[in-house]
């Protein structure tokens, strides 16, 4: 939908998105030195769907079932006080004790890093993984905390005020990543 004063550009179309996920899956397998202790945890909401897709890709390649979970980080946000009305809290469910596992957090966009910080705090309440890594579909820069992604689908620089909209089939009816530049 055209908007005045903004520019939309498609960063990834459906095919590019699928290829990015393929590559990310391979990188995750390498990062985890195989699938033995690998657990994928998606951040609500789109991270969960992306984690499911990546897990399916890995399962096809390696022939093993990858445990996956979802976390909602709303209650761990550092800006809860400032937000009103209160955001809706999604479901959190994790596959058993995370101690000794290699947890790969999956999210759609990495920006300030605050969401990931909240996710790290929340995971700490569920056990002590051997290692935690981060996989994101898009890294748009603009970090406010010292957080980095280990696996990245696509990098793009977007000014503050701009947005990266990730749309996926399961929730939005189509796959694409669009950059909306601000005024």
């Amino acid at each position: 939908m055209p908007r005045a004063q903004t520019n939309n550009s498609t960063l990834l179309d459906a095919r590019a998105l699928a290829r990015a996920l393929q590559r990310m899956a391979l990188e995750i397998i390498e990062l985890a030195h195989g699938t033995e202790v690998l657990v994928l945890v998606g951040i609500q909401r789109r991270g969960v769907e992306l984690a499911a897709r990546i897990a399916a890709i890995i399962e096809e390649k390696e022939g093993v079932r990858i445990p996956r979970g979802a976390i909602d980080i709303t209650l761990y946000r550092d800006d809860l006080e400032l937000v009103g009305p209160k955001p809706v809290i999604g479901a959190t469910h994790l596959p058993g004790d995370l101690s000794g596992k290699h947890v790969v957090i999956v999210d759609d966009v990495l920006y300030t890093g605050r969401t990931v910080r909240a996710a790290l705090d929340e995971l700490a309440d569920f056990g002590r993984p051997r290692r935690i890594s981060l996989a994101v579909l898009v890294d748009r820069g603009g970090r406010e905390l010292p957080i980095q992604a280990d696996v990245v689908g696509e990098t793009v620089k977007v000014r503050p005020g701009g947005r990266v909209d990730v749309r996926i089939e399961e929730l939005d009816g189509r796959d694409e990543v669009v950059v909306v530049e601000g005024p």
């Binding site: 209650l75 006080e81 400032l82 009103g84 009305p85 966009v109 309440d125």
Partner: protein, 320 residues
Amino acid sequence: MTATLEKDLVGLEFLSAEQIRLILDTAEPFKEVSERQIKKVPALRGKTIVNLFFEASTRTRISFEFAEKRLSADTVNVAASGSSVSKGETLVDTAKNLEAMRIDMVVMRHGASGAAQFLGNRIRSNVINAGDGKHEHPTQGLLDMLTIRDKVGRIEGVKVCLVGDIMHSRVARSNLWGLTKLGAEVAVCGPRSLLPRGIEQLGVRAFGRVEEAIEWADVLNVLRLQLERMEKGFIPSLREYYRVFGVTTERLERAPKPLTIMHPGPMNRGVEIDSRVADGPHSVILDQVTNGVAVRMAVLYLLAGGRPELADAAKGGGSE
């Protein structure tokens, strides 16, 4: 447009159906928090909450205390006896003192109807009514509704009958408001001397005999009968009450369908309810207790903080 709540939760009478659903839906994820090993989330970290209980209550206060601590808030309990309140300090002065100490939220139980609203009108802190006189006990009404929704799958069209001393019951009033707003059919049952004037005009049926209620209802919410009702002459004796109005296994066996049994607690076994009924397969009394903590966490979460004018900090590009 998402529903939002006012500064205080005083009762369910003036909440909209959307607001009530918001609280019930928000309670769901909080149920999961209580199942974790570490039953704590930092959502209300740094908030000070006072539990101001002018009437003794162990279970409601403990439930609120768990809810507050699981949200990482700092809690202080003030019980009426032994505090300055019992020395004649007025409610207004108590309110002003709390405000002067910069308390974030007050959970109050008081013997006078309207006390929660009274306090909420005078202090900036959020006020949550944990029971005011005979007026309302909104978190109890909410947890009762959540329990019904979990057990039956919905609230709309469910036939819920409140049994007991309706006249003096704030639980009954909150249930009545909440359930009717969400489309349940509500009835009350009890001795006529304990049914308040005009209750039918509030959209509620009245049954004079508990057998009629059992015949009609899907859910019975059995209220505690207090000893003082007998002392003040509303009913002749507790024994008679049990014989005529008790929810017994014999009466329930004659029900056309299995009834879900609820009770806000604490129970008078052998007065308003048989032990075998309270402990039986259709009783959800313990679920009510579990749901109570989740509902109270949801209420505290939804009411706390929230300064929308600074919400810009939260905006910007998909996730962060």
